[in-house]
């Protein structure tokens, strides 16, 4: 133990030496620490343990959303549904050429497709439950994402993975900004002595989970040599710009964000 400590000390560690413990010792410490209710020290938009366990009986009043906040939620869920529609269609149309050339990718593609289909189902359910209008450009996104999936699939495995990488990067940023906004509301509510309410808390948990799964797809795509795609900069640049443009279009009041 001491020799390891001295070796790492020469390398200039940022952590104090007593943090250099074996994995088992770390786990045991962490478990005993959890029962003391220790706080996380890193600030991140990942879920904290306090968030995951909803209070049994929260007697604080539920925050009443302003009109602007309701419109933000409407617009956000509408864009999310359009995005998941695009994702499912991209995977559906990428699949045949990719699987034909690389049969070993079948399980991976199926896994990613199943997760996207689950996300799509989640957002469909939310839109139907809260009577939110879906995007008016539904057929346009249907055609565009099918075309994108098919053309990158035909270009080859690397190009298809580069497309996935580009789309998932933009989607990750997009979901992150939504989580940030919801966390701002949560803080505002807490300052006033209110809670967000069970629905919004559930939405926050859902969007975090979906964002994590999208970033997992990003990692899979990079593992599958996304960076080896031949016109890599051009491909990812065009696709990322297209995604940002699509998200922007979906916020235009007269096309998709318009209140019915």
């Amino acid at each position: 133990m001491a020799s390891i400590a001295s070796r790492t000390a020469l390398a200039g560690p940022a952590l104090p030496l007593k943090a250099r413990i074996t994995p088992l010792a770390f786990q045991l410490q962490a478990r005993s620490r959890k029962s003391n209710g220790a706080k996380r020290t890193l600030a991140s938009s990942a879920a904290t343990p306090q968030d995951e366990a909803p209070p049994e009986h929260d007697s604080r009043p539920k925050k009443v959303l302003t009109k602007a906040q309701k419109q933000f939620l409407d617009s956000a869920l509408r864009v999310n549904q359009a995005g998941e529609l695009a994702a499912t269609l991209i995977y559906t149309s990428q699949n045949p050429p990719i699987i034909k050339a690389h049969p070993h990718l079948r399980p991976l593609m199926k896994h990613m497709y199943d997760q996207e289909a689950g996300h799509f189902k989640t957002f469909n359910g939310l839109l139907a439950k809260h009577r939110i209008r879906p995007t008016a450009m539904y057929p346009v996104w249907y055609a565009a994402s099918s075309l994108l999936g098919w053309s990158t699939g035909v270009m080859g495995r690397e190009a298809a993975m580069a497309c996935t990488e580009a789309v998932e990067t933009e989607i990750g940023d997009h979901y992150n900004s939504q989580v940030r906004e919801l966390l701002v509301w949560k803080k505002e509510a807490k300052d006033k002595g209110e809670t967000l309410g069970p629905e919004l808390e559930a939405l926050l948990v859902d969007i975090r989970r979906i964002r994590d799964e999208e970033l997992e797809h990003l990692d899979h795509a990079v593992e599958q040599d996304a960076k080896e795609a031949n016109p890599y900069e051009l491909l990812t640049g065009v696709i990322r710009a297209g995604c940002r443009g699509a998200i922007w279009v979906n916020t235009l009041w007269f096309l998709a964000a318009m209140h019915p």
């Binding site: 539920k62 009443v64 959303l65 309701k70 939620l73 549904q81 045949p96 050429p97 034909k100 469909n124 839109l127 139907a128 439950k129 809260h130 009577r131 939110i132 209008r133 879906p134 008016a136 539904y138 057929p139 249907y142 098919w150 035909v154 309410g197 629905e199 919004l200 019915p260």
Partner: protein
Amino acid sequence: MASPAVVRTILRTPAALRPLLLRAPRAAYHEQHHDQATPYGDAERTILSHALAYVPAHGFTQEAITFGAKDAGYLDVSRNLFPKGTFDLVMYHLVTQRQGLKDRIQFPDETMGVGKKVRSLVIERLRANADAGVVWRWQEALGVMSLAENIPASLRELGLLSDEMWFLAGDTSVDGSWYTKRASLSGIYAATEVFQTTDQSTEFKDTEQFLDRRLEELRVTGSAVGNTMQWMGFQGGALMNMLRSKGVRI
């Protein structure tokens, strides 16, 4: 109810600013009964609800509003609360009937199809017009709604009614058909309502048959379009698969 302070406040505010006296509606996130907050304040609601009782006799006119205001204990001049005049009365009737639709009809039978439920909802809404006694004055209301400055609000209300009917019928589709369903039901409802204003049959039997014919047309057209699109999809897919089986890399 008719406190002098309230009336003084109303009369002192310039006509254009009187809507600002209304309390802004607030609602928690997307409760199931959303949009229950009407844009009417207490005074407006009282006057208009009393005025509706005078519509069968006096039609959708300023007279009805004046009688309603007097009935509710307000001064005659309270009709200045309604800058759009008779259109406010028409809209009040439309909004209250739309929001009351879910209380008028429930569907305990789970096996009833969405189409049948939509038919029941349209008939119930038309019956509500009859129950309120406004059917024989409805042509006046349609005239008022078709004035240029009132058309956007009227169309919006028709769209909201169509959305409400599909929601109460249990439709949960959120793809492109969301728009086509609401647009077609708006058209059918508007046509049937106009037909009802000239229907003299007992219990509006002719109106129901008119509605049935329109719904049948919609069903036939919808399935024709759907089947054609499906056929085109199959042809396209078959062509792609055939080329792939020949070795073309697509």
